[in-house]
Symmetry: C2
Subunit: 291 residues, 2 copies
C-alpha cells in the first residue's frame, strides 16, 4: 500500500470506468485502447492496496472502496480543473468574471445586477454564461464560472450562497385544465406532492423527474409539453410573466413554497470581483433621498 499520492491520469481513468461500468466504453471515451486502461486500473488497485472494481461474470461493479473513490475522485478532478481555469482567467490580458445563469431564471434582475456591479469602481467585464437546468453548481465547481444565479434548492457542496429575491410560485396548466379559469389552485388540486412550507425539495424533485424523463432542455420545451396536457409544472411568477402563451393558464398556488433565487460562488473564492458582484446582487436598494 503506497502513499496517498495519485496521478490525475489514473483518477481520470478510474472515474471513466466507474461511470461506464465497462472497460471498452470507458476506453473509447478516454480515446485510448482497452489494454492500457485495464493495466492502469490494476496498477492503481495495487498501489492503493484495495480492490476498486468487482469483475464478475455479469459485468463490472463497484466495491465500497470504489464507490468512495468515484465520488471523491470526481470532485478532486473538478477541483483541479477549476484551479486551472480560474488561473487562466486570472492571467488573461483582460481578466473577466463569468456569471452562470439559467435562461429566464434571473427573476428579471440580471440587468439591474450587472448595472449595479458595473457602477462600482474597479469593475471587471462580466461574461454571462447561459446554462441548462441545474448546471450552475457544476460550472462553479469546475471553474467554468465564478458566480451563478440559481434557484433553491441546489447542491451547496463547496459553495456559498446568499438569497437575492423571493417571489411567489405559480402553476402552469393547459388552458383546457378544469381549474384554468379559477385563477388559483392548491398543490393537492394539481396532483403535486404536498410539502412542508419550507421544503421545496419534494416539488423540485418531482419537476426534475419530469425534466429528465422527457429530456427537456429549456423552458419553451417544458411549456410546450404542458400545453399539450402532458403534465403541470410550477414556475416562479417572473417566468410566467415572461412566457404568456395562448394555450397556457397560470394559477396562483398559495400553498406552494415561494421561489428563492440565490447568488452562489465557490466557498474558497478570494476574488474581490466576485465579492463585489455578490454585493451588487444582494445589497438592498439604496434609499432614495428626498431632494
Amino acid at each position: 500500500m503506497t502513499g496517498p499520492t495519485i496521478e490525475s491520469r489514473a483518477l481520470r481513468y478510474f472515474v471513466a470506468v466507474a461511470e461506464e461500468l465497462n472497460f471498452s466504453r470507458a476506453a473509447d471515451r478516454l480515446g485510448i485502447s482497452a489494454s492500457p486502461l485495464s493495466r492502469a486500473i490494476r496498477a492503481l488497485e495495487a498501489d492503493m492496496g484495495v480492490t476498486l472494481l468487482e469483475r464478475s461474470t455479469h459485468g463490472v461493479s463497484l466495491t465500497p472502496a470504489g464507490a468512495v473513490l468515484l465520488e471523491e475522485g470526481r470532485s478532486a478532478l473538478d477541483a483541479a480543473q477549476a484551479a486551472v481555469r480560474r488561473a487562466q482567467r486570472a492571467g488573461a490580458s483582460t481578466p473577466q468574471i463569468v456569471l452562470a445563469v439559467k435562461a429566464d431564471s434571473d427573476a428579471g434582475l440580471l440587468d439591474a445586477i450587472l448595472a449595479r456591479y458595473a457602477a462600482q469602481d474597479p469593475a471587471l467585464p462580466v461574461t454571462v454564461r447561459l446554462c441548462g437546468w441545474a448546471e450552475q453548481p457544476r460550472l462553479l465547481r469546475r471553474g467554468e464560472a465564478d458566480v451563478a444565479l440559481v434557484h433553491e434548492p441546489f447542491d451547496r457542496t463547496g459553495l456559498d450562497a446568499e438569497p437575492v429575491a423571493v417571489e411567489p410560485t405559480v402553476a402552469a396548466v393547459p388552458a383546457t385544465h378544469p381549474l384554468a379559469h379559477e385563477g388559483r389552485a392548491t398543490l393537492a388540486d394539481l396532483g403535486l406532492p404536498m410539502t412542508g412550507p419550507s421544503d421545496l425539495a419534494g416539488v423540485r424533485r418531482h419537476q426534475d423527474n419530469l425534466v429528465d424523463r422527457h429530456g427537456i432542455r429549456d423552458l419553451a420545451q417544458l411549456l410546450a409539453l404542458v400545453e399539450l396536457g402532458r403534465f403541470v409544472t410550477l414556475v416562479p411568477r417572473s417566468v410566467a410573466d415572461r412566457y404568456p402563451r395562448r394555450g397556457l393558464a397560470y394559477l396562483d398556488v398559495p400553498d406552494a413554497p415561494p421561489a428563492v433565487l440565490a447568488i452562489a460562488w465557490p466557498q474558497q473564492s478570494r476574488s474581490t470581483a466576485v465579492a463585489a458582484l455578490v454585493r451588487a446582487a444582494t445589497e438592498p436598494e439604496p434609499a432614495q433621498h428626498a431632494l
Copy 2:
C-alpha cells in the same frame, strides 16, 4: 492554450515552487533536481498559456494567475489525497472511522460521545487521532480524518459542522499577576483585544500569533510559558479544570466570548458512520423518565 486537464505531478511541482518561492529548495523538497522542475513549470505555463511565476532579479514571485493556481491547486491536491485515503479506509478489511481531536479540547465529552456512538447498532471502530492546534480542518480536507472535534472559529471551507457544547472562557495568568486573587477580570484588564460579543476571531488570532511566535505544540508548553509570566491566555473552562497548576491562576472573564466546541466533517461525506457519530455528539441527552 491547451485544455484544462492537468497532471497532478505538475500541480505538486508548481505548489512546491510557489510555496518556497525558490526552485532549488522546492526541488529539494520534492526529491528531484532543479532541472526537471524548471522544465516542468515552463511546460505547465506553456500548456496553460499563462505566466505563473515572475522570475526577477530578486527571486521568484507569484503572478495573479500563480496566486490563484496555488490557492486552488493546493485544495485540489488535498481533495485527491482525501479521495485515496477514504477509499483505502472504506476498502480495509475492518473499516474504521477516524475522529480528530486536539488533546484536551473535547470539553470532557469524548468518552460520552464515543460510548453513545458505540451503543448504536452498526457501529464501526473509532480511531481517535490526536492532533495539534488547528490541524483538524486540514486532516479532514486531506482525508486523514472523517470527523473532528474542533473549537470555533475554524476554517469551514468544504466542511459542515454542528455545535456540540458551549462553555465559559477563563483566563490563565501567572499566580503572581496583580489580579490573580481577584478571581475575575475583563479582557481590557488583561490587555487582550476587545471584540464584539459574538466575534471570537480577534481573541483567537491573538492567541494563534502567540502560538506561532513561540512554536508551542501543546497545552502544557503554553501554560508553562504563562506561568513564567510571558503572557496570559484564554482557555475553555474544561481545560482549566483539567490543568490545575500551582504557578497559575484562572480568572473568570465575563466579557470573553464563550468557547464553542463543534463537530465537523467533510461537506460531501455520504458516510452513514459519520452521520451516526455526529448524531451521537449532538443529540440532546435522552430525557430521564421517572420510575
